[in-house]
Symmetry: C2
Subunit: 253 residues, 2 copies
DNA sequence: CAGTGGTCTAGACCACGCG
DNA sequence: GCGTGGTCTAGACCACTGG
């Protein structure tokens, strides 16, 4: 047989085909995404190589590559040339650059220390039901804490979690400063996305005392709902920040 | 010659090669980016097809594709299957979703109307020199305006532009509501990126009068420097927003 | 050194938009 | 029907990492 015009048909391997409008790399993406949700590979661990995945899923390396690269740009995975592809972890760096927007007026980035004030398991308020998309009868864990930059109280925040995903939270173990890493390592819950709503408000008397400022002083309110890998809400947090020495930053475009 | 083991060497076309660590698709990216800066293709116009660019630049279609896709994800270009690749414009949509963060408490997105109060050509303050990276002796255009949602004054903002890029600004033509589109169509200046710094402040008496609120009421301050395609700052804007009915939104992750 | 991801090419086919 | 971008494959080579 002369080597000419090899059409795509009639190869020995019957490759996986597109089904009903689903693109191949999207199918691969979905399969790998589901494995992340199922904790098939734990955060920090390496995935199989592109070639192995391609062989297993009956597609070419290029298709696997596209799916993986898409997930890299979503910060779900990261790659190191010569080493492999890894599942992202909620490290200190990640918390600081991806999920914490306050930066010192001099440009310094620092995660504040935390002190938990109260913590209770309770029935949700209507607002909590809406924000966390809770079902009838589901309970929540609600706690508040103060956060300090260099020993100076700067943020007062209230956090609500669906009890279903966090059994024993706050009673058996003391939650640490970096909560997202704690959710991931202790409860297998990975935060993948968050939507923030920011407003300027006036400090009430309680906040004024806690933060050592005057009542009525402007505070930055950050209202944030965080989502899991599957898109369901997993944490609702309202932070009130004394932004005398800190500001909220973001890049657009 | 039997068709076997065709090595990459010895093709008829002597393709462009990588030079000193610059990847091929980065070279292509830089060339196209420079043409955007030089207005070789105007906003809204179509670029040549991938095949044409590939032929002209002596690379494969795949390499052009990667460069173009990178620029699409930076919002510099957009593509429409079956039609072509186009230069992004500062349309109303773009202004609203890419460069305007205030959203109604009910979720409604709307660009506020504007009314310019003052406008002058003047020497820059030290802060303006720093923010706009001005050279010795460069002058600026500084103006302030009020912005209205449904006739209700909500934002008071001060905007500074380097006069060099905006000759006759505000004296010969009345600047419209959508400034970025105006910069692009009238001055050939495309805003490609912006960095925002957000704080909560208290309204001063002047702002209180202008916005019809009480002095001392918390306002959201958005301090933003916008950059051109080549990365140089082109606009500095400080907006003070009454966020009683509006909030600043962003997605992370 | 072998194995990984990263780049680059070449070519086939698909889906879309328009005449 | 034709030209566009979009998907998918196959394979060569490069650059980095670790043993």
């Amino acid at each position: 047989m002369p080597a000419s015009k090899k059409l795509a048909a009639n190869t020995n391997k019957p490759r996986r085909k597109r089904t009903s409008g689903q693109l191949l790399y999207q199918q691969v993406d979905n399969i790998i995404r589901q494995r992340l949700i199922d904790n098939v590979w734990k955060p920090g661990e390496a995935l199989p190589s592109e070639m192995q995945l391609a062989a297993e899923l009956d597609v070419s390396q290029g298709t696997v590559r596209k799916a993986l690269n898409d997930m890299v740009s979503e910060n779900l995975l990261f790659r190191r040339q010569g080493l492999g592809t890894f599942v992202s972890e909620h490290t200190e760096r990640r918390a600081l650059f991806l999920y914490f927007s306050l930066v010192g007026n001099d440009g310094s980035r620092l995660l504040p220390e935390s002190k938990i004030l109260e913590c209770e398991e309770t029935d949700p308020t209507p607002e909590e039901i809406e924000k966390l998309e809770l079902n009838e009868g589901e309970m929540v864990v609600r706690f508040c804490r103060i956060r300090f930059f260099n020993e100076i109280p700067t943020i007062f925040e209230t956090i609500t979690l669906p009890l279903e995903h966090f059994p024993g939270f706050g009673t058996e173990v003391e939650p640490p400063n970096n909560l997202f890493r704690f959710y991931q390592s202790q409860y297998g819950v990975t935060v993948a996305k968050a939507a923030e709503h920011v407003r300027a408000i006036a400090a009430n008397t309680e906040e004024a005392i806690l933060l050592g400022i005057k009542a009525g002083q402007p505070l930055l309110e950050i209202d944030r709902v965080a989502e899991m890998l599957d898109g369901r809400p997993i944490e609702w947090r309202i932070s009130h920040c004394d932004n005398t020495n800190y500001r909220y930053v973001m890049e657009r475009g």
